[in-house]
C-alpha cells in the first residue's frame, strides 16, 4: 500500500530523552545534523556522525523496525546514488574497467559516502517525526518562525497549513488506496496501453481523490469557522512548551559537532 511506503514514520509514543526534547530544539538539531553530514569530508567525520545518529535512535527507544518501514524506497535511492557516483566520479586510481566505464577508488569512496549521507539524513529526519507529534512539530516550527513574522512572514499561517497537511496526508493516502482497490474491482488496469492511454487511466483515480480532498477542506473550514478561528493574531496556547536546559545542552552538543566538521574541512 502506498501509505506504508511513503511516510517517513508516524509518531511512535515512548518515554525517552529524545521524546522529551522541545520540538523547536529537535528541528534545529536535525538541520544542524544535515548540514554537518554535508560539511564532513572524510571517514572520521562520516563515521562519527553515523555513530551519533545511531546513538540518537537507541536513546529514543524507537525500534529499528519502525524506522526501517519508512526507509525501503530510500534504500533503493541510496543504492542508485552509490552506483551513479561509483561510475561517474572522476578519479585516477582505476580499480576495474568495464567497457566504457572505469571504476576508481575515488568513485568508490565518494559513492559510499554519498549513500551513507543520504541514508543517515533520512534516518535522522524519520527520528524527528517519530519522536514528535505533529502538533508539537508545528508549534516548534511556529516558534522558530516567530522572529521572521516581524518582517511579514505569516508564521502562524505557515505552521497551521503544515499541521493540517500533516494531519490529512495519511487520510488522503488511505483514501487513495481505497479508490485504487475500488476501480480495480471494476476491472481498471493502470498498466495498460500507450502513454496517452496510461495518463487517461488515472482519471478514475484522481477525480474521486480530488472530490474527497475538496469535501474534506470544506468540512474542515466550516468546523474552523464554527469555532471562530481567525488566524494567528491574539491566539493563546493551551499548553505552553518551554525551552529547557536539556534543550540548550543538546543544541550546544550538535553545534560543537558542526563546528568540528567545519574545522576539519578547512584545516
Amino acid at each position: 500500500m502506498l501509505k506504508e511506503k511513503l511516510l517517513l514514520g508516524q509518531y511512535y509514543p515512548a518515554d525517552s530523552p529524545v521524546h522529551r526534547l522541545t520540538a523547536s530544539c529537535k528541528i534545529l538539531v536535525t538541520i544542524i545534523y544535515m548540514v554537518a553530514l554535508f560539511v564532513a569530508d572524510d571517514w572520521l567525520g562520516w563515521g562519527l556522525l553515523a555513530a551519533v545518529g545511531l546513538a540518537a535512535v537507541l536513546i529514543s527507544k524507537v525500534p529499528f523496525k519502525a524506522i526501517w518501514r519508512g526507509m525501503k524506497i530510500i534504500v533503493i535511492f541510496c543504492v542508485l546514488t552509490f552506483l551513479l557516483n561509483l561510475f561517474m566520479y572522476p578519479g585516477d586510481h582505476v580499480l576495474l574497467t568495464l567497457g566504457r566505464f572505469r571504476l576508481t577508488a575515488e568513485g568508490l569512496t565518494y559513492g559510499l559516502a554519498m549513500a551513507l549521507r543520504l541514508f543517515m539524513l533520512v534516518v535522522f529526519a524519520s527520528l524527528l517525526t517519530l519522536t514528535t507529534t505533529p502538533i508539537q512539530l508545528t508549534d516548534g516550527l511556529e516558534t522558530l518562525l516567530k522572529p521572521a513574522s516581524r518582517i511579514g512572514v505569516p508564521a502562524h499561517e505557515i505552521a497551521m497549513m503544515m499541521s493540517i497537511a500533516l494531519r490529512f496526508i495519511p487520510t488522503i493516502l488511505e483514501e487513495f488506496d481505497r479508490i485504487v482497490l475500488a476501480q480495480r474491482a471494476r476491472g481498471a488496469d493502470l498498466k495498460q496501453g500507450n502513454i496517452a492511454q496510461r495518463v487517461k487511466n488515472f482519471v478514475p483515480l484522481l477525480v474521486p481523490l480530488f472530490v474527497a480532498a475538496f469535501r474534506r477542506a470544506d468540512d474542515l473550514s466550516q468546523a474552523m469557522e464554527a469555532k471562530c478561528y481567525r488566524g494567528g493574531a491574539g491566539r493563546t496556547r493551551w499548553k505552553v512548551v518551554k525551552w529547557q536546559s536539556r534543550d540548550t545542552v543538546c543544541l550546544a552538543l550538535f553545534l560543537l559537532l558542526l563546528a568540528g566538521a567545519i574545522l576539519e574541512r578547512v584545516l
Partner: protein, 283 residues
C-alpha cells in the same frame, strides 16, 4: 459459482508497529446460488472478507478459491464487489460513462456498450433516457448509490458482494436494496450481503454468518443463528425485534417454538398459539 476459504488469516501491516489481525483462521464455503448475509460489529473484519473474496487482497495465509467461474483463467473477474459508500468512487462526466467503465474494462465493444449500460440502469430502477447524460455528481444520495450498483452489474458478475449497501440510505432505499438483493439471487447469482442490520438479514438471507474479532462466530440459517441470543450479545449484536418478541413471550410462559425471525413469522407463531387456546395464566 462457489467460493471456498480455507484457514484464511489476514493481517494488516504485518510486522509493523500497528499490526492488526483482521481475519483469523476463517473456513467458509459459499455454494453456487446461495444468498448469504454477513453480519458483525464494526471492525469485525467484514470488509476485509469482502476484499479477499473479490481477489483484491491476498490472504496473509490460507487460500481463497473460486470454482465454476465462466472465466476459469481469471476467476475473480466473475466477482462483483459494491464497496461501502461506493459513491466516493464516482468519476464519470455522465452516468453513461460511469456505468460503462467496468464493461469497457472487460473489453466490451464500444457499440455494444449502450445496450449493456441501458440494461444495468434498468436493473437498478433508473430511467436510462433521463439519466444518460446527467453528471453522477448532480444526483441524490440514493440515485448515486444506484448508479454505483449499476456500474458493478454491468459486468454481469456471477458472485456479487455488497458491503453495507444500505448504509446512509432512507427507509425506501433500504427496502429497495433488499428487493434488489433477492432479485439478483433469483436470477441465479450467488449473493453475499454485508450488513449490521439484523432485521434486514433475517428478512432476506437464507444463511447468516456472524463475525466477531475476525473469526466466524456463528454460521447457519437465520432461525438458528438468531436463537443464540447470548452468543450474539457477546459480539455486541442483538437479534431482530421479531425474534426477541417471540423469545420474550416464551420466557413469560407461552408454549411456542420461538424460532421466528421476521415479523411475518412472529405473527404466525402468535396466531397459531392463540388459536390453540393454551395461553396459560398470562392471557
Amino acid at each position: 459459482m462457489k467460493i471456498t476459504l480455507q484457514h484464511v488469516d489476514h493481517i494488516y501491516q504485518e510486522g509493523g508497529v500497528s499490526e492488526t489481525a483482521a481475519l483469523r483462521d476463517v473456513d467458509l464455503t459459499i455454494d453456487d446460488g446461495e444468498l448469504v448475509a454477513v453480519i458483525g460489529h464494526g471492525g469485525s473484519g467484514k470488509s476485509t472478507l469482502a476484499l479477499l473474496m473479490a481477489g483484491l487482497y491476498q490472504p496473509s495465509s490460507g487460500t481463497v478459491e473460486l470454482t465454476g467461474s465462466k472465466d476459469p483463467e481469471h476467476p475473480f473477474r466473475s466477482v462483483g464487489l459494491v464497496f461501502q459508500y461506493p459513491e466516493q468512487q464516482l468519476f464519470g462526466e455522465s452516468v453513461f460513462e460511469e456505468v460503462a467503465f467496468g464493461a469497457r474494462n472487460q473489453g466490451t465493444a464500444e457499440d455494444y456498450l449502450p445496450v449493456k449500460v441501458r440494461e444495468a440502469l434498468e436493473q437498478v430502477g433508473l430511467d436510462p433516457d433521463v439519466m444518460w447524460y446527467r453528471s453522477p455528481f448532480s444526483l441524490s444520495g440514493g440515485q448515486k448509490r444506484r448508479v454505483c450498483i449499476a456500474g458493478v452489474l454491468v459486468m454481469d458478475p456471477q458472485l456479487i458482494i455488497l458491503d453495507e449497501p444500505t448504509a446512509g440510505l432512507d427507509e425506501g432505499g433500504r427496502k429497495w436494496i433488499a428487493q434488489l438483493v433477492r432479485r439478483l439471487n433469483e436470477e441465479g447469482r450467488t449473493v453475499v450481503w454485508i450488513t449490521h442490520n439484523m432485521a434486514e438479514a433475517a428478512e432476506v438471507a437464507r444463511r447468516v454468518i456472524v463475525l466477531k474479532g475476525g473469526r466466524v462466530l456463528l454460521d447457519g440459517p437465520p432461525q438458528q443463528v438468531f436463537s443464540e441470543e447470548e452468543t450474539l450479545m457477546s459480539a455486541h449484536l442483538t437479534p431482530p425485534p421479531a425474534a426477541r418478541l417471540v423469545r420474550e413471550l416464551q420466557r413469560r410462559g407461552w408454549d411456542i417454538e420461538a424460532s421466528a425471525v421476521t415479523v411475518e413469522g412472529a405473527a404466525e407463531e402468535i396466531l397459531s398459539h392463540l388459536a390453540s387456546g393454551k395461553e396459560g395464566g398470562h392471557a
